[in-house]
């Protein structure tokens, strides 16, 4: 799992950790990463898709 997370891009890694581990809302993540809320949603969507594809056998 950690290996799969580490292979994400820095933006995707940051947004997935802030959301899944720290439990921040989209608004809070957008403030932390200084981006729009739509960008947060997009990055989170793609990060999840990548992780699900890599960990298909484990989930």
């Amino acid at each position: 799992m950690l290996q799969a997370v580490s292979e994400l891009t820095p933006d995707h890694k940051a947004v997935i950790l802030l959301r899944e581990v720290e439990g921040l809302s989209y608004e809070e993540i957008s403030q932390v990463m200084q981006c729009s809320k739509g960008t947060v949603m997009s990055r989170l969507h793609y990060a999840r898709k990548k992780l699900q594809n890599k960990l298909r056998d484990y989930l």
């Binding site: 997370v5 959301r19 899944e20 809302s25 999840r48 992780l51 699900q52």
Partner: protein
Amino acid sequence: MSDPVAGCSSDPTTLITCREIEGVLPLFFDGELDVQQTRAVALHIGRCRTCEGELDKLGKLQEAISSAVRERTSQTLTGSIWEDVKKRLPPPRRTLAERIGDWWDGLSPRALYPVPVVAAAVVGFLVAVALLRHPERRGVETAAASAAAAASAPHESPVRVEEIESSSAIALLRDADILALWIDEENPAGMSTPVSAAVSDLASEDLVAEPVAEGVE
């Protein structure tokens, strides 16, 4: 934010499709939808096994990431980092009671056997010291005090008397007295003869001249 389910507010169960749910399912999972949208998605998921399975995947992914990261964080903190920090921390100060407790716990039961004996000896010593320092509290003198008083009166010692009697000066004086008495008996008139005067002078000179020299022999 785009609102893919906005148009189904009047009858969400009939207008929302699985394709539309796919776009808002992460938002539903993260609690980013409003109450009406959340209700519409929840109604659809309750009837659609496929969308419910997608929601479960999101939940499992979140649980897996969270647990893996927290486990790694815990290992890191309790592992090398915390060990390094502990090495640099000063040892915690222990209170006197804790140190006494450690000392007591460290004693073996065998080491505790002499404790009553030592305690009794200490108490006895203290009592003896108190009695010696304050003899009037006992009402009578102790044997030690009596012995000390006897030692402070040397004129009554028989050893001392014998030493005095054995000295040559006394012996010489006794001989001189006997000789003078014999002379007086031979001369009852009390006249002083040259012999008696010489003997008396000799005796007095010997007494003054060498009272100790013959005593050493």
